[in-house]
Symmetry: C2
Subunit: 142 residues, 2 copies
DNA sequence: TTACATCCTCTAGCTACTGTAGGTTCAAGT
DNA sequence: ACTTGAACCTACAGTAGCTAGAGGATGTAA
């Protein structure tokens, strides 16, 4: 049986995060000692590892919830999981494109900084005037 | 004089966002009509455009605050602005690297999906076991 | 004058956690 | 058996950067 602290260490999670996952129903309510402390088994360890790994791949908690449901029902066809992964892949690719444009713009800003004072600063100038942009970057969420 | 709605339209901002910027001190308190409605001039339009453009380039509000301070003091040397931009560029480059690794992993997951049912699904399997990863991806914030 | 779009304040909610306060329990050492 | 100290407990507040809604006031054109 594992304490919450041990579980946290094994999965690279903070203790509070585990309690948070329990609160939102992503982790089950575990057994308790007489004194009221949580104790976990291997099933919970696996489940948390799954959650953490999915998070590292950028899946939002909602998607992870769906994936866990699928994982709990081995008979269901897997194209749903595939679709969730494809959706995530698409998102990642969109983010990459956006970051590429931003990087180009930032590189240009930094390169053109004259090193004088703020009045002539190209960095500030570029920020002041969107029309100077070489690239399009129209949504804000990165 | 511009109403808040016009200002919002001109800068591609939501009305609530402008009020939020005022609340956190990023935008100044504007003049009001007798009835209490906000009215803006061109200085505010420029300032908001600056803020929005900086946000689109991924600068956090704190950095934008610093940039606005610099922008308000044309005599200060510009290396501070340059440094903020460089910091942002570095962040963007880190994010790109991370996304590249994630994309590789997701592509592999999707490619190997057998199309059977959840029990044999590679997507779920890869998520279950981090050791199957081909790439390292250890922080969560994307 | 009337209609109605737009404005106002205030509050709560979103994601995914993280931190803190104040108190309890567990396990190891003596 | 007793003490000590790390780890646990709950509950609440805070983070970034907005966004949405309620319920009511104002501005403007016909």
């Amino acid at each position: 049986m594992l304490t919450i602290g041990t579980l946290a260490k094994r999965t690279g999670t903070k203790v509070q995060t585990i309690r948070y996952y329990e609160q939102i129903g992503l982790m089950p309510e575990p057994g308790r000692t007489e004194g009221g402390q949580r104790r976990y088994g291997n099933a919970e360890l696996d489940r948390l590892a799954f959650i953490r790994h999915s998070r590292q791949l950028g899946f939002p908690l909602d998607a992870i919830r769906e994936l866990l449901d699928l994982s709990d029902a081995p008979d269901r066809p897997c194209h749903e999981a595939d679709e969730i992964a494809r959706r995530q892949l698409k998102l990642v690719e969109q983010r990459m494109e956006r970051l590429k444009a931003l990087r180009a713009e930032l590189k240009r800003m930094v390169k053109e900084c004259s090193g004088g004072n703020a009045a002539q600063c190209r960095v500030l100038e570029v920020l002041r005037d969107h029309s100077e942009c070489l690239t399009e970057h129209d949504q804000i969420g990165i």
